[in-house]
């Protein structure tokens, strides 16, 4: 319902026929809770320009019965940045009106419960409640201000409780017996007797720096320059606490209310300003096609979302371009090399995607296709075991491909000739078999046993073939497959 509908005398809960009678040109749409939630989430994301902890009253986050129509901001410690709570409220209301066309009712209180009640039921749309006066402020408000279920509300109304004040001075025991825990919990939450944690829309950062710009910025260079300065401010704090950033989030607040977030993951904790700036630059380049500056960005925030301990080290004296090492024995410390390696991996990852940089890791399995994984690089490499005695191919086909027209002298022996991908190979030497049984503990239906052979054809091509199934026990007609190519 918009302001025009309210002016025509409509109210939530009216029947559609009645509403049509009251306002002739009424436009009706089905309610779309998911879209409402998404819009509210975007709004809360925008509101992170005031404080990192913004909590929209979405259904999946709060499970409220009393309307998903607002958000909580935890402005502890951030109000002074705007010149006090009143100024912050005024700024927020003005921006909501200007950017989104929303006329908001805002309240500041020491508890989320009291703020919720005051924002809805206090006469003035912008209201700041000094700490400690929750009880007196809430007393004249109706029972609905306590965020109760409709059933509880109607029972209380029948019992004659109209205002919050009439509940507050009554003994607790009868209420505890008569009502579910909800009522007393809501009262305690509103008065600050028990804590009510907020569910933030994005994980609150560990460290956070935000900069408001006088003029909106558009260009990549400007964004990077500002991000650079934000990182410089963060570095002081990070150095003080002996930690480095493992994950960063850059938030770009558009003038028209949209928020662009850029997440940056790092392989090793870092405090290096130029490295972070470079990663942001790479990401911006990759985003250039989709990210639209629109009217420009009016604020820019950089947050450390994950920090890890990082002992202080002297970095300034090491030269920027040390000699590359060929064949060992370089003069530079291992720490520096690890760090530069991590920087390279970060850069590649920013541009090519988080899963693009991988490393081989061994798996405890005899099946060749399961014997290794390629996880994205994270931390130290797992050590590989000694090379096996049995031959292993350099190139492994992802799926074993059937070999056709296989001739073998004896059914159990190695093949003498086979064709694969339309080419027939005459085998001059074979080695094997290496018998690898199926992993019966993983499949209910046991997989057939494989007999692997290394075969070499007359031109020197070396293949890894296997025969699936044991004659007599597992199969009557064994199948041959090509599984790998040797160097």
């Amino acid at each position: 319902m918009n302001a025009a509908a309210e002016a025509a005398g409509l109210a939530t809960g009216d029947l559609l026929a009645d509403a049509r009678a009251k306002a002739e040109f009424l436009q009706v749409r089905d309610a779309d809770p998911a879209a409402d939630d998404a819009a509210l989430r975007r709004l809360a994301l925008w509101a992170t320009r005031y404080t990192p902890t913004a909590s929209p009253l979405c259904r999946d986050l709060w499970n409220e019965d009393n309307g998903a129509d607002g958000f909580f901001l935890d402005i502890t410690g951030s109000a002074h940045l705007f010149g006090g709570e009143e100024k912050l409220l005024a700024d927020l209301a003005a921006r909501l009106q200007k950017n989104f066309g929303l006329s908001a009712r805002l309240a500041v209180a020491a508890t989320p419960g009291a703020a919720w009640a005051l924002s809805r039921f206090h006469q003035t749309p912008l209201f700041v409640l000094p700490s400690g006066q929750e009880a007196t402020a809430l007393a004249p408000l109706p029972i609905a201000a306590l965020r109760l279920k409709p059933e509880t509300r109607s029972v209380l109304r029948r019992l004659g409780f109209k205002t919050v004040g009439s509940l507050l001075d009554k003994p607790r025991a009868p209420f505890a017996a008569r009502f579910p825990t909800e009522l007393l919990r809501r009262v305690d939450q509103a008065l600050g007797r028990i804590d009510e944690p907020l569910v933030p829309v994005v994980a609150p950062p560990v460290y956070h720096a935000l900069r408001y710009l006088i003029e909106p910025i558009f260009t990549h260079d400007a964004i990077i320059a500002h991000a650079n300065r934000l990182m410089q401010t963060l570095v002081h704090v990070l150095t003080r606490d002996d930690v480095g950033a493992r994950a960063l989030r850059l938030c770009l607040y558009n003038v028209d209310g949209a928020v662009e977030t850029i997440d940056i993951g790092l392989t090793l904790p870092t405090r290096n300003v130029s490295h972070v700036a470079r990663l942001i630059e790479l990401k911006l380049e990759a985003l250039a096609a989709t990210c639209d500056a629109g009217f420009g960005f009016e604020a820019i925030g950089l947050a450390v979302t994950c920090a890890e301990p990082m002992p202080a080290r002297q970095t300034e004296l090491t030269p920027s371009h040390p000699s590359p090492a060929s064949g060992g024995g370089s003069g530079w410390g291992d720490g520096d090399r690890t760090e530069r390696c991590a920087a390279l991996i970060d850069a590649l990852r920013q541009r090519l995607g988080p899963h693009s940089v991988r490393r081989f890791a061994p798996e405890a399995s005899h099946l060749p296709e399961r014997a290794e994984v390629l996880p994205p690089i994270d931390g130290e490499a797992t050590a590989w075991p000694e090379a096996e005695q049995n031959p292993r191919p350099l190139l492994l086909l992802p799926h074993a491909e059937p070999a056709e027209d296989v001739t073998a002298l004896v059914p159990d022996g190695p093949p003498r000739r086979f064709s694969w991908r339309g080419v027939t190979y005459d085998i001059t030497g074979a080695q094997g078999p290496e018998r690898i049984a199926g992993e019966w503990w993983r499949h209910r239906e046991p997989k057939p046993t494989r007999d692997y052979y290394l075969v070499e054809d007359s031109a020197g091509h070396r293949f890894w073939l296997f025969r699936e199934g044991l004659y007599g026990r597992e199969t009557a007609q064994a199948q041959w497959f090509v599984h790998g190519l040797f160097a």
Partner: protein, 263 residues
């Protein structure tokens, strides 16, 4: 014009003494020789064909499989050359599933291990198109972190190869390009190797002991082309010539005989 001009007096004084000038120059260009130390094969027959007696660090090298079926051999040759290097190696290759690379399968860690290259030292970078591959290679080369960079590239114009070669020269890293066989344009690479398969070395029980490759040095700047059949010892990381190298047919015949004896 006074800036950047060295003070002429000391140079003139030193000009009498050639050795002193050389020493002064060596001091001014630190670590130059050390950086550019080439990678020798340890085989006089091959090293004598290459400038400075080895594969130049700080240069682009092209490795081409001689035929469609020799891709594994080309990979093996690169792995064998790199196995002696100590620091992380970077492989840039198109993500599996891109058409031109689909038939060859993917690198197998245990297979690398069997060739004496510790897979844990390998960093694999997967790209989705050629431009990304080139970017990733250049980025890695310029950072000078890995000991060598290997990339799979299908087509490459002269200018791009010059750019890669220049980056490799500045960083002093060997850069290897694995090219599919049919398409070969002119490029700025210092060497071009054509790798073919050859019958493996076998012991008296007929078991494969060492892979053999037919190497053809097709182009070599400041060097001479040539061809050899080499075998590679993955334990000692050493190349050696396979029997009588000049007569390729005899090598082939010898291999067949030994297999027949074994079987």
């Amino acid at each position: 014009m006074s800036f950047a001009q060295p003070n002429p007096a000391p140079i003139a004084a030193l000009a009498h003494d050639r050795a002193a000038v050389m020493a002064e120059l060596r001091r001014l260009i630190p670590r130059m020789g050390e950086q550019r130390k080439p990678l020798p094969f340890g085989l006089a027959a091959i090293d004598s064909h290459l400038p400075d007696g080895g594969l130049a660090c700080g240069a682009l090298h092209e490795v081409v499989p001689a035929a469609e079926g020799c891709v594994a051999a080309a990979f093996g040759f690169i792995a064998a050359v790199l196995a002696r290097l100590a620091y992380p190696l970077l492989f840039v290759m198109p993500a599996y599933g891109l058409r031109p690379y689909r038939p060859h399968g993917r690198l197998h860690g245990h297979g690398l291990n069997a060739l004496g290259l510790d897979p844990a030292r390998l960093i694999l970078v997967e790209t989705t198109h050629r431009k990304e591959t080139l970017w990733a290679m250049e980025e890695a080369v310029r950072s000078a972190v890995p000991a060598a960079v290997v990339g799979l590239i299908d087509t490459l114009d002269l200018k791009t190869s010059q750019r890669l070669h220049l980056a490799a020269t500045e960083a002093g890293l060997p850069v290897f390009l694995l090219r599919p066989a049919p398409t070969l344009e002119s490029s700025a690479a210092a060497t071009r190797w054509r790798i073919g398969t050859a019958k493996a070395a076998r012991d008296r029980f007929g078991l494969v002991t060492q892979p053999r490759w037919h190497l053809q040095l097709e182009r070599c700047r400041n060097g001479r082309p040539g061809q050899w059949v080499v075998e590679y010892d993955h334990v000692a990381h050493r190349f050696s010539l396979a029997a009588a190298l000049a007569d390729f047919s005899r090598v082939r015949g010898a291999g067949e005989k030994s297999i027949k004896q074994a079987s």
